[in-house]
Symmetry: C2
Amino acid sequence: MEPLVRLRLDVSYDGTDFSGWAAQPTRRTVAGCLQEALAVLVGDLPLGLTVAGRTDAGVHATGQVCHIDLPAAVYEGLRASLVRRLAALMPPDARVKAVTEVPATFDARFSATWRRYEYRVADVPWGPEPLRRRDTLGWVRPLDLDRLRAAAAGLVGEHDFAAYCKRKDNATTVRAITHLDWHRAADGVAIATVQADAFCQAMVRSLVGAMLAVGDGRREPAWPAALLRRTERSSEVTVAPAHGLTLVAVGYPAESEYATRADATRRLRVSPPVAP
Amino acid sequence: MEPLVRLRLDVSYDGTDFSGWAAQPTRRTVAGCLQEALAVLVGDLPLGLTVAGRTDAGVHATGQVCHIDLPAAVYEGLRASLVRRLAALMPPDARVKAVTEVPATFDARFSATWRRYEYRVADVPWGPEPLRRRDTLGWVRPLDLDRLRAAAAGLVGEHDFAAYCKRKDNATTVRAITHLDWHRAADGVAIATVQADAFCQAMVRSLVGAMLAVGDGRREPAWPAALLRRTERSSEVTVAPAHGLTLVAVGYPAESEYATRADATRRLRVSPPVAP
């Protein structure tokens, strides 16, 4: 069998005009655009394209990570020019910022130890700054940063986020949020930063929706944490719109840990919770 | 005659889909959109809309300033809700961020003492970050910040910028640049900041075009300043594209100086230079 080279691709996109990351037959998706561009360069090879965070329609990324496998001989001819050639082949709203050779034990999805997202909200009566309207939610009611932070503090830690997740069969909704906080940027935009080992679908947007209800005074700061006692998705939580959300970074362990981490993650995510 | 109230409007826009500021019969312009929105609120009144910087097609603003005059009685009914109602009536790519009552001596154009612009350039092989591609120029050759700064330093001061201006009859091309420098933002984007009493048409984009030729090594750092000896527009200068440019702020003197400053500016701009 021909030897393969595994490549890590660092990817950015403006999600506005994409139906999310994952390739779909009739829709414009980031993975679809990337696969089309790669097909021009390498032909009809199986790539094994695997992504760290399968973002939903309208969600952006400045720090997405994925991996592909290429025959070593094919990659050799592309090594020096791959980033530049992909830049010429891909649309301006999706960019491959770096291509790095990685060991075969690296798995963009399962080796990842954390994902970090940001959610941007402009709470001024005139709405988001026009040049940032694609990645900033407008919120007509003023937001109290102290209340947002109090709500955020109650959500940090390992919890069953069932209230904030679309449930899938045989998949745990236990996740560990290591960081969740709000700050205001120099231009006044309120930004939530949230980091966890992983997120289930629409989880960040559900958390933000719950916190916004606290931030504008409609709910008490203890309410989002209280929902963690629920065992299924809460209809009281409004999922915040996709366009405020950006995947900004994905973290990986040291190279020697790629395989161990991937094995552990696979076991954890696919089995039902063990006890009680 | 009915008493008038003069209002200062602070305006932001994403210039991508506008044919510039100034109203034109068949084109979508920022002034046109603003006048249409105001007409819904106040009817077919003469507004005397006057702007600080008549930006060209494709140029953005986060700190544009203009003024209008409204009959006091009409304004009284709108005072509490004008910003919110304009936000609802205007498209998301143009926003009125603030409305302030000012003395009748305030003139958005002629009272202004300085204008500040920023020009954003991403000099990486993969191009601008997708979410900032609307206000960031992609430059395939790497830029040397030291060379850009050396080029910039030679342009600061009061000079005849004829080489960098579209000449108009009876209009001086003497301008005073008080600040011109380059820095890299945290994400690596090279940003030129330039401040002057005023600019002639396409002047900032011409200056940036000349400096980029220095920054990527095609011209010597002394070249942009040497062009200041020319008495007419230089065909050697490439005008940088509009979409990298944003008007970020306009400065005004203390209220007591509005009228004096406006008179002085009017005299200066419309008369030919007095002496050699």
